[in-house]
């Protein structure tokens, strides 16, 4: 579960970009004739191309006018809320028979649902009512605004979407329904609100809210819950809702699977869009959603039970006559074959997509996996990997299957390929445990032997030929200044004030040594973090840019030094910049000394022992911070009050420097584009 969230974080960055530019890059020819790309989750949590999962097979074009909703009942009969024509259009794909109900009653049907008794429920946006028809189109009941007082006097009742459970309780999504889904019983009595969205402003938005006008607050940073936009019900009666929001608005879960208390139980909520239009759940519990906005234009996605993305496909192109290219998809439904029916309100048609052999393989494997038939699922997942080596879900599920089999080696390999760190951690724990059980004795013996060997070596060192020569050389090195400078490092740990004295008064550290130490510090950090740190603790960023890595480490150090020096000169501290410059790098001594051992140890740790790493890092960085403060205090000879003031001002200065940089940056870009434009106009026109 955690792993999926982990992957999600990486995902959020890359997904959106890929969707905007969905051009095929290398001509993998069998896919070139398909006008849309199919994606799945790759090994780094990013979207990757995969074999086509769904192929367009059928178009329903029956003179629709802005149709808003589609539903398919258990017998595969298709119902479309043909809003502009004020009717419900019903189509039987087997016989090709079509019929219409609700003519003359409905004016702007926006939601349609059919229950197990084949009764048809319609939400009408113009009449603001929900209608209950029988299969022949005879009106059984109308659901009007509840009269109960606890419905709320100001609460809106503008039904847009409707679903009904097996008890014939009616769930209604109302436009502007901040209180949540309106739940009525069969007779239209109000039972309460359900699945209310939480108000959740980001910190930044909360700050900005203070400076907003009333209108802005209402539209961007309202403290009233967002109303849900659409809903679905699965065959266990679980309700799913979707809520659309704009990029900068409060954080809401775009897709929710609600438990009985109305809370979201999706764990791998694979969000790449804030604009889901419709949701549908099939018999196996797979979730189908379609979204439509500028960032994720007309993408249909298939998610597993817990909301983890399996496939995404489709694209938006207005005026296109190609299948899989939409104008404005507004509804989605799935029949018993697993065919996906997508309603397009601007294109006024329905496009139907059928599973390919590949998608069938993947979905069947997932089904076996969900039913814990790991032997079957692993056979199929192996076949999936043959057809797409970058299918993370398959590798990770295979890892799990191997784990159940106790095939640790293969399991580790699969988890590693999938970058499923939590899976890897669990198996690694097992492997390590086995290793310890097998090798504990022999390890102890080896340690004993080595200890003995060292003991005797030390005892008889003078009788070894050439020992004195080497010893003399070592003594020589010990007398150099560089050795002395380096040996100041460990002294920082024991007595930082001593070292400050050395730097400040005895001037025993040369500038060039400090510069070399800075350089070593940068590369030491890069190498340990990216090459020595254990796999489980390493960051999973796809691309590491050297210049960025250098800046990330070097800039804070330099910034602290410079800001502090600027403040010192105001506060008439005693230190020179030279002292501060050297002092800062010496303050980092705990990192120099402890990072490497910690990172090496991390290679044999799992997430169960993650606290060791966390604690180690905390001590290391905390100690460095304390050193830094002591260093500043001693170099400038501050009293405690002065020190606190100095630290606050230093932090403030750092902030100001960053802001100045940003402003200059913007100005420079502006100036550049101005001169560029000028140049182009003068010379090119």
């Amino acid at each position: 579960m955690m792993k999926r969230i982990n992957v999600l974080l990486v995902m959020f960055v890359c997904v959106i970009m890929v969707f905007i530019i969905g051009q095929p890059k290398n001509v993998v020819a069998s896919n070139t004739d398909i006008p849309y790309q199919t994606y799945s989750i790759g090994l780094y949590g990013e979207l990757v191309n995969t074999a086509v999962a769904y192929e367009g097979t059928f178009i329903l074009n029956a003179g629709f006018m802005s149709p808003q909703d589609i539903y398919i009942d258990k017998e595969d009969i298709v119902y479309i809320a043909d809003s502009g024509n004020g009717r419900i259009y019903i189509y039987n794909p087997v016989t090709g028979e079509e019929r219409v109900i609700g003519n003359g009653i409905l004016q702007n049907p926006t939601g349609v649902f059919v229950d197990k008794q084949k009764d048809i429920y319609v939400a009408d946006a113009k009449l603001n009512k929900v209608f209950w028809f029988n299969q022949d189109g005879e009106l059984i009941k109308e659901y009007n605004r509840p009269t109960e007082t606890f419905f709320g006097e100001t609460a809106t009742y503008q039904p847009r979407k409707v679903v009904v459970n097996d008890n014939k309780d009616v769930y209604i999504i109302s436009e502007g329904g901040n209180n949540g889904i309106i739940l009525l019983n069969k007779d239209g009595e109000f039972l309460g609100y359900y699945g209310t969205n939480k108000v959740n402003l980001s910190f930044g938005l909360y700050l900005r809210r203070m400076f907003m006008s009333k209108e802005q607050r209402q539209s961007l940073a309202s403290l009233i819950p967002k109303p849900s936009h659409n809903l679905a019900i699965d065959n266990k009666g679980i309700i799913y809702t979707i809520t659309t929001s704009k990029k900068e608005e409060q954080l809401v879960d775009p897709l929710k699977k609600l438990n009985i208390e109305g809370n979201n139980i999706l764990s791998g909520n694979y969000i790449f869009s804030k604009s889901y239009q419709d949701v549908f759940i099939d018999d196996k519990g797979l979730i189908y959603v379609v979204c439509d906005d500028a960032e994720a234009p007309a993408i249909i996605s298939v998610l597993d039970k817990s909301g983890f993305l399996i496939f995404a496909f489709g694209t938006k192109r207005s005026g296109s006559l190609k299948i899989g290219q939409f104008e404005s998809p507004s509804g989605i439904a799935v029949d018993s074959n697993g065919d996906i029916w997508v309603l397009d309100k601007a294109g006024n048609n329905v496009q139907v997509f059928t599973k390919t052999e590949f998608a069938n393989l993947v979905l069947t494997a997932i089904d076996y996996h969900d039913k814990s038939q790991y032997d079957k699922s692993s056979v199929l997942f192996k076949e999936v990997i043959k057809q797409n080596a970058m299918f993370a879900l398959a590798h990770s599920s295979l890892g799990k299957a191997y784990e159940r089999e106790g095939n640790w080696e293969k399991s580790l390999e699969s988890y590693r390929i999938a970058n499923d760190k939590f899976g890897y951690s669990n198996v690694y724990w097992e492997v390590r445990d086995n290793w310890i059980a097998d090798n504990l004795l022999i390890t102890l013996v080896i340690i004993g032997i080595v200890w003995l060997a060292l003991y005797f070596l030390n005892k008889y060192k003078h009788s070894i030929k050439g020992y004195d020569v080497i010893h003399a050389k070592i003594e020589n090195i010990k007398n150099t200044q560089t050795y002395h400078e380096i040996m100041l490092m460990p002294r920082v740990l024991r007595n930082p004030n001593d070292v400050v004295y050395e730097i400040k008064f005895r001037q025993s550290v040369r500038i060039r040594t400090a510069i070399v130490l800075y350089v070593i510090f940068v590369f030491f950090n890069i190498i340990t973090s990216h090459f020595i740190l254990g796999y489980l603790f390493r960051s999973l960023t796809q691309e590491i840019v050297l210049s960025y890595e250098i800046m990330k480490i070097l800039l804070p150090l330099l910034l602290i030094g410079i800001s502090n020096h600027l403040i010192n000169s105001l506060q008439s501290g005693e230190g020179f910049y030279r002292d501060i410059f050297i002092g800062v790098i010496y303050a980092c001594a705990p990192i120099f000394i402890f990072k490497l051992p910690l990172d090496i140890i991390s290679n044999v740790l799992t997430y169960n022992e993650a606290f060791i790493m966390n604690l180690g890092y905390l001590i290391m960085y905390g100690w460095t911070g304390i050193n830094l403060i002591l260093m500043i205090k001693e170099i400038n000879n501050y009293k405690p009050g002065q020190l606190i003031l100095n630290l606050l001002l230093t932090a403030f200065t750092m902030l100001i420097i960053i802001i100045i940089y940003l402003v200059l940056n913007v100005l420079a870009t502006q100036a550049w584009s101005f001169f560029e434009g000028l140049f182009k106009e003068v010379f090119l026109q």
Partner: protein, 724 residues
């Protein structure tokens, strides 16, 4: 140590379980069972336009036609040509069927402008004073234009003149030359004259010819999208707007992206009554400026319509410094002749197969299609990826995916399993890898071994001279500049890479050197140029034919070439097995394969990337092609951080069995028909197809999930049967 013992015990138990499971899992038939257990829902697929549907073979009786307004102007043994002297609409009687350029009935339901349009021999668009394009038909403008006709034996000269030469208008002539089985329409460019400020934009002849009302006529249109598509006449159109597409796609010089549809062959056809009456239109001159049009019924009229529209000028958007753009219209009309052949087909030829044969004959007569078969042996095309670069922390990291030695291992492996004829194309073997395979970066990367070792194999080098990839927005020297003075490029992977299109003059300079270099080791397998047909500021698109042809002195392998490059094609690689999936298509037909069959060997798209492996293998047998794969010797996931990250299924270790199995499966089917021409193809039932070759061998392909009884023999589900 107690824990250790527990763990040991656990290990023992787990090992036993593992072994049991292993034995269980290694049981091959068990695996097959599980995979075969997968429910197949192919029926929706078989009903879709991705397959050829059974024909509606109802005989179509044409209603009695009133010919009173029509005058017979020419007659030969096969056809009679009529002209309406008032409107100059034409009618042609062939095989006792009357084809008309105007509707026979319900003209009174249309507005005057529409009636004029439907009766007019041609329609045109021109630019108004404010640069908007205005659509007119000939009969709309009788006060300005007059039309005369002159008949000289089998040549009819229609002359359009402007009545008052001081008015804005134009004059032109079109000639209809009648032959045994059809006619040719020709418009010489020197006879198109514009008067005043008149600026012609497009012109189209006989838009209504071959039209069909709703589903009244059993028949279809044929459109050369991909390998071929049909639009069967139905009363329920799948789209509400017309479809237009340039032949050979939009010229890159005028367009900024390639997202459009590309019709690689400038032909289209109409069938009225399947196996009864049909004709094929072949645009023989001016296709590079022409556009195909299909109008669905219920859009303006109740008729299915298709015609070709010729562009005399291009218009484009020019950006201006204020950030807006203005429409710019070309000053002069393009100096090219418009010409198309109409060939009528009757009875057993009145279908898409007959059309393919007609077009094939044309290509043979023109010398475009020549026999390129060497040995009539089933081959496998292996497109091998050498390697690609990944941006690393300190250095770029080169992923060696397949070395020269690996290719030799693969070759030994496959030949030992009975695959005799393997055709290798190598990509990413240049320095810089696949990402950097630009027009001048083709030298072999020595890290991958000594290419001379491959001399005994049949190899060619993938070479696409039209593109350079960069990971910055920084146009390389030689990038094509579009007419509005911008560099021609596309953004890939959300801005991680940019694809720049090269100016053709650059390519012409570099290609001979590249050829010389490659010819030391093998030949070129040409991509890019093979189906991208574009011009630049120095040359018009009509001049490009000669420039393209001059690049090659001998035929080479080409990736999906258009008709322009067909003459220089020795092997047709990655042939489309589908149309371009337009919603209104009803069928997928192997028009292109029928045209090529017996002359140019063609290879499939890469089957390892197929999402419907079984179906695509059957389609390969149905359409008669060689299988193809894109492979790497190392696992594909190594490519996940490189430009080649969409080669997700290339790992040889995963697909080697599949290559051998598919080869055997296809070999047994096509063994006797390699290098033979396809002479007929019929759909016997939904998902069952019978293909007949010139040597009378028949292959019955069954795409369905149930066995098919063919004349007493069983064609098993998802299988085929060969009959001699």
């Amino acid at each position: 140590m107690k824990k250790g013992k527990v763990v040991l015990l656990l290990i023992a138990i787990i090992t036993v379980v593992t072994i049991t499971l292993r034995v269980y899992a290694n049981n091959n038939s068990e695996i097959d069972d599980i995979i075969n257990e997968l429910e197949q829902s192919s029926s929706t697929l078989l009903d879709s336009n991705l397959f050829t549907q059974p024909d509606d073979l109802r005989p179509y009786e044409q209603p009695e036609i009133d010919m009173s307004e029509y005058t017979e102007v020419y007659r030969n043994t096969n056809l009679t040509f009529y002209v309406n002297m008032n409107t100059f609409a034409i009618r042609v009687k062939y095989n006792n069927y009357i084809w008309s350029s105007s509707p026979f009935q319900d003209l009174e339901n249309f507005s005057r402008a529409w009636r004029n349009k439907l009766n007019s021999p041609f329609s045109y668009t021109y630019f108004s004073k404010d640069d908007n394009d205005v659509s007119r038909s000939m009969l709309d403008n009788q006060e300005i234009l007059k039309l005369n006709m002159e008949v000289n034996d089998n040549v009819i000269n229609f002359k359009v003149d402007i009545i008052d030469k001081d008015e804005n208008g134009f004059s032109l002539s079109y000639y209809i030359t009648i032959n045994d089985h059809g006619f040719t329409l020709n418009v010489p460019h020197e006879e198109i004259i514009e008067y005043g400020n008149f600026r012609l934009f497009t012109i189209s002849f006989f838009e209504f010819f071959g039209s069909a009302k709703l589903d009244q006529i059993p028949g279809y249109y044929f459109i050369p999208s991909g390998n071929g598509a049909l639009v069967r006449f139905s009363a329920h159109p799948k789209v509400n707007t017309p479809f237009v597409s340039r032949f050979f796609a939009q010229d890159l010089y005028y367009a900024t992206n390639l997202s459009g549809i590309s019709l690689n062959y400038p032909v289209f056809g109409t069938v009225h009554g399947i196996n009864q009456n049909a004709y094929l239109v072949n645009v023989t001159s001016g296709a590079e400026y022409a556009e195909y049009n299909y109008w669905p019924p219920k859009f303006r009229t109740d008729y299915h319509m298709q015609y070709v529209n010729f562009y005399l000028r291009e218009k484009y958007q020019q950006a201006v410094p204020s950030g807006n753009s203005v429409t710019v219209i070309e000053k002069n009309i393009k100096p090219y002749d418009m010409s198309f052949d109409v060939t009528f087909l009757a009875n057993e030829n009145a279908n898409y197969i007959g059309m393919a044969k007609t077009y094939k004959n044309y290509l043979l007569n023109e010398g475009i299609l020549q026999n390129r078969w060497e040995d009539k042996e089933l081959a496998v095309h292996l497109d091998v990826l050498g390697g690609d670069y990944e941006a690393g922390l300190f250095f770029k990291k080169f992923h060696k995916m397949t070395t020269v030695d690996d290719i030799l291992v693969i070759n030994d492996d496959l030949t030992s399993q009975g695959i005799k004829n393997i055709y290798y194309t190598l990509r990413g073997f240049n320095k810089g890898g696949n990402v950097d395979a630009s027009y001048k970066n083709y030298k072999f990367n020595k890290k991958l071994g000594d290419v001379n070792k491959l001399k005994d194999l049949h190899i060619a080098f993938y070479y696409d001279a039209t593109v350079i990839h960069r990971n910055k927005l920084n146009a390389p020297i030689g990038t094509l500049k579009t007419i509005d003075n911008r560099f021609s490029y596309e953004m890939l992977d959300g801005g991680k890479y940019y694809r720049y299109y090269m100016d053709i003059d650059r390519i012409v300079k570099e290609l001979p050197d590249a050829k010389k270099y490659f010819n030391q080791y093998g030949t070129i397998a040409l991509a890019g140029l093979s189906n991208l047909f574009y011009s630049n500021e120095n040359h018009m698109r009509s001049e490009m034919y000669a420039i393209y042809h001059n690049l090659f002195d001998e035929p080479i392998a080409m990736y999906n070439p258009n008709v322009i490059m067909l003459e220089d094609t020795s092997k047709f690689l990655t042939i489309p097995f589908q149309h371009e999936r337009l919603r209104f298509f009803s069928d997928n037909v192997p028009f292109l394969q029928i045209v090529l069959s017996g002359y140019i060997p063609y290879y499939s798209s890469y089957l390892n990337f197929s999402a419907n492996k079984q179906m695509d293998t059957l389609r390969l047998i149905d359409f008669g092609g060689h299988p193809a794969y894109l492979i790497t010797y190392q696992p594909s996931h190594l490519l996940s951080k490189t430009f080649s990250n969409n080669y997700y299924a290339s790992y040889y270790g995963n697909i080697d069995d599949n290559i051998v199995e598919t080869y055997q499966f296809v070999y047994n089917a096509l063994e006797k028909v390699l290098g033979e021409e396809i002479s007929n193809r019929e759909v016997l039932a939904k998902g069952v197809v019978r293909v007949t070759y010139a040597n009378n061998v028949q292959i019955i392909v069954n795409y369905t999930d149930t066995d098919y009884d063919y004349e007493g023999a069983i064609v098993s589900a998802r299988n085929y049967l060969v009959r001699e």
